[in-house]
């Protein structure tokens, strides 16, 4: 009892702290009902009143949505649409924290594909099957199938497609023509063409081997081109197969012999600048980068118009997709569905895509108006092929972590700090562990 005064102080402090903790414990995770419910209403009456607060990422596709709000209000004059757009990391952090908020914060959200399973299994999202089925003339079967697959978790639909970010092969057509080369159709041709395009002033292909998401997103296209896959039919990872090895060896070969020097940390930005400035002849990136590359007032300058898009060699590519979803603690779920179903409807989708929004519906890409007023019929044809055969990086829970783990191992192999076999074995083991 020598330090009785001190210990009393300590006890008092501990008491205060534990009181506070109990208070906070009761705050955690109170958002929304335990089991998500849905009114199941499809056709929302035009006189519905309410405010739909939407959290979105500040990308051009969000601007397309913002532009359409006025048209929506002609049909639903009493629904106020309030869009908050933030950069990716801000948005993700806001989103997960809003689920924990005591009051509903957002009434409609957009969900990136790696989060879909986590959010749905946590009960954050409202099931939409009944709404979709009972919405007149919605034609959900018209969405590209790979996009719809992403919105389904354990047989239940939790979203409708917002926009795709599937990848494709973007190339400088003049550079290919100058070397009498044609668009590669196999993995071997991809490596050979990239090498042939390489000169002393120019690299054949600007790659994005940055650790984590970027390298996995790029390399998985090579894996598909080699005839491999990320998962087998039963959902088990297949990253230690001979196809994966061939794909990684080809990737490293191209990085060493056809990519810009010292580009191990490159991500999208560097590669895009390299291609748009004519310092590289090709890249593998999102299909909707083509209009940006061909924009005369953009980074390409005189080179604008020279760029073209093709599906990956082998025909299959990596798919990314954002989906509209209604959080289970939405305070205006019917009005939210009114907006989401309106903006993804056939008619409105045509207007959206004409203005540069990324495709979600097959019929839109066949629309004569889109083909005439948009960015060129051959572009939409390539997009159509791309979206018909595409798969996301991750299936199942813990998508972000799985992607990060594989992307780390791939980057090790390219950096030369691990052998191809070691890296792939480690990647396989990591996926098994993370998504067991």
């Amino acid at each position: 009892m020598l330090h009785s005064k001190k210990s009393r102080k300590i006890i008092a402090t501990v008491a205060v702290m534990s009181g506070l903790s109990l208070f906070t414990a009761s705050c955690a995770g109170t958002g929304g009902p335990e089991t998500p419910e849905s009114s199941g209403l499809g056709d929302i009456p035009k006189d519905t009143k309410g405010t739909v607060r939407i959290l979105m990422e500040n990308v051009p596709d969000t601007d397309r949505i913002t532009d359409l709000v006025a048209n929506f209000n002609e049909e639903y004059p009493d629904v106020t649409v309030d869009i908050e757009s933030l950069t990716f990391d801000q948005m993700r952090d806001k989103l997960v924290s809003s689920f924990q908020a005591p009051d509903p914060t957002y009434d409609l959200i957009v969900v990136d594909n790696p989060w879909m399973v986590d959010f749905a299994q946590a009960g954050f999202l409202e099931p939409l099957d009944d709404r979709i089925a009972s919405t007149s003339d919605y034609d959900a079967g018209d969405f590209f199938e790979p996009l719809v697959d992403i919105t389904k978790v354990d047989g239940t639909t939790y979203g409708v497609p917002f926009y795709n970010y599937a990848l494709g092969y973007l190339y400088n057509a003049d550079d290919l023509a100058a070397g009498s080369l044609s668009v590669p159709t196999t993995l071997e041709e991809l490596v050979a063409t990239s090498k042939s395009l390489t000169t002393s002033e120019r690299s054949g292909i600007a790659m994005q081997p940055q650790r984590g998401y970027k390298i996995f997103e790029e390399w998985a296209n090579w894996l598909f081109a080699a005839g491999g896959s990320i998962y087998d039919a039963d959902g088990n990872p297949t990253l230690d197969t001979p196809e994966a090895k061939a794909a990684l060896e080809a990737y490293i070969d191209a990085y060493k012999n056809a990519a810009p020097d010292n580009s191990l940390s490159w991500a999208f930005d560097e590669a895009f600048r390299s291609v748009s400035s004519g310092q590289s002849s090709s890249m593998i990136s999102y299909n909707w980068n083509l209009p940006a590359l061909n924009d005369p007032s953009g980074a390409s300058g005189d080179l604008a118009g020279n760029f073209k898009l093709a599906p990956m060699p082998g025909g299959k590519q990596v798919l990314g997709s954002w989906s509209w979803a209604i959080p289970s603690n939405s305070s205006a779920s019917d009005a939210a569905w009114a907006f989401a179903s309106w903006v993804t409807s056939k008619e409105v989708d045509i207007d959206r895509v004409k203005e540069g929004g990324a495709a979600i519906r097959v019929s839109t890409l066949d629309d004569p108006g889109v083909l005439a007023d948009g960015f060129g019929a051959d572009y939409y044809e390539a997009v159509k092929q791309i979206l018909s055969d595409a798969a996301p990086l991750s299936a199942g829970a813990n998508g972000e972590e799985m992607i990060q783990a594989v992307g780390t191992e791939l980057n090790e192999a390219v950096a030369g700090t691990k052998s191809v076999d070691e890296a792939l074995a480690a990647a396989q083991a990591a996926v098994v562990k993370i998504q067991k």
Binding site: L20, A25, R92, A122, S265, E270, Q404, T408, E412
Partner: protein, 283 residues
């Protein structure tokens, strides 16, 4: 007694609210299996998170990376900061201008510094590799074995000014007599520095190093803006690792336990260092 309490009370109250509360909350989370995608009250798991943190190879690797980073960055800042402070102390011409200009980097938000260097050091559009190529050098700033050094160099670019500021203050507060006495005795400049200036400066140096090291431990923005932890995991610092676990992968409970393991290590280091310094003074 009441006066003392009255003066301390607001500070203690505010510290309990803004440091104590988040600390207690985080401590509570660290013994639960809380995920950001959880609903309801998280389950109590006792010391499970701490056990898994202590046995997590990636955590210790990130810890080692961070220590190496702090040593390289703060080491460079001490050497450069001391040299520049000594040079500035004798500066007469355009004194205020030189000083305020040299201090500029520390007023730029680190994420902007990171993004700027990402492009400045880019092999195709960056000015620095372009200059280096002019003299026939090709250097991969973010390549294996180099990326961490590059990040430490960025840290040094931004924070050497802070070191200069503190050391300059330290130099100006050194009494003149011992310096002059040593010079009159015919000591060389090096002798005067080693025997008089440096010992008198060392308390400031300890404080400057402590403040800088605590801050450098939190490096996040540079990694986020440039390498994202690569090549492999070479630049995965402890803050980046905790951020990924807690926010990107949603496992906040586990991330909290990492924070407390880190806190325990750093507190122990600080206490040991200052015990030793005090004992050194007493002896």
């Amino acid at each position: 007694m009441t006066f003392k309490l009255g003066m301390l009370a607001p500070l203690i109250a505010l510290l309990v609210l803004i440091v104590g509360f988040p600390l207690a909350y985080a401590l509570y989370l660290s013994v639960t299996d809380y995920k950001l995608t959880d609903r309801g009250t998280p389950g109590f798991v006792g010391i499970d998170n701490f056990l898994s943190t202590l046995t997590n190879v990636d955590f210790w690797e990130a810890f080692g990376t961070t220590v190496l980073y702090v040593v390289m960055a703060v080491g460079a800042e001490v050497v450069l900061g001391l040299a520049i402070a000594l040079a500035l102390q004798k500066q007469k011409w355009a004194k205020d201008l030189t000083r305020s200009m040299l201090l500029a980097p520390m007023f730029i938000t680190p994420i902007a510094v990171g993004l700027t260097f990402r492009f400045l050091l880019n092999d195709q559009i960056g000015a620095i590799p372009a200059m280096l190529r002019g003299i026939g050098i090709s250097y991969d700033f973010f390549g294996p074995g180099r990326a961490l050094m590059t990040l430490a160099a960025i840290d040094a670019w931004q924070w050497t000014p802070f070191m200069v500021l503190l050391l300059l203050a330290g130099l100006e507060s050194i009494p003149k007599q011992p310096l002059e006495a040593a010079r009159v005795d015919g000591g060389s400049a090096w002798y005067v520095f080693r025997r008089v200036t440096f010992p008198l400066l060392s308390p400031v140096l300890v404080i400057a190093v402590l403040l800088r090291a605590l801050d450098a431990l939190k490096v996040f923005e540079y990694v986020f803006a440039t390498t994202r932890g690569g090549p492999g995991t070479e630049t995965q610092t402890i803050q980046y690792f905790t951020y990924q676990t807690g926010i990107q992968f949603f496992r906040l409970g586990e991330a909290s336990s990492m924070a407390f393991v880190l806190l325990a290590i750093v507190l122990t280091l600080i206490i040991l260092t200052f015990r030793r310094i005090e004992r050194g003074r007493a002896a």
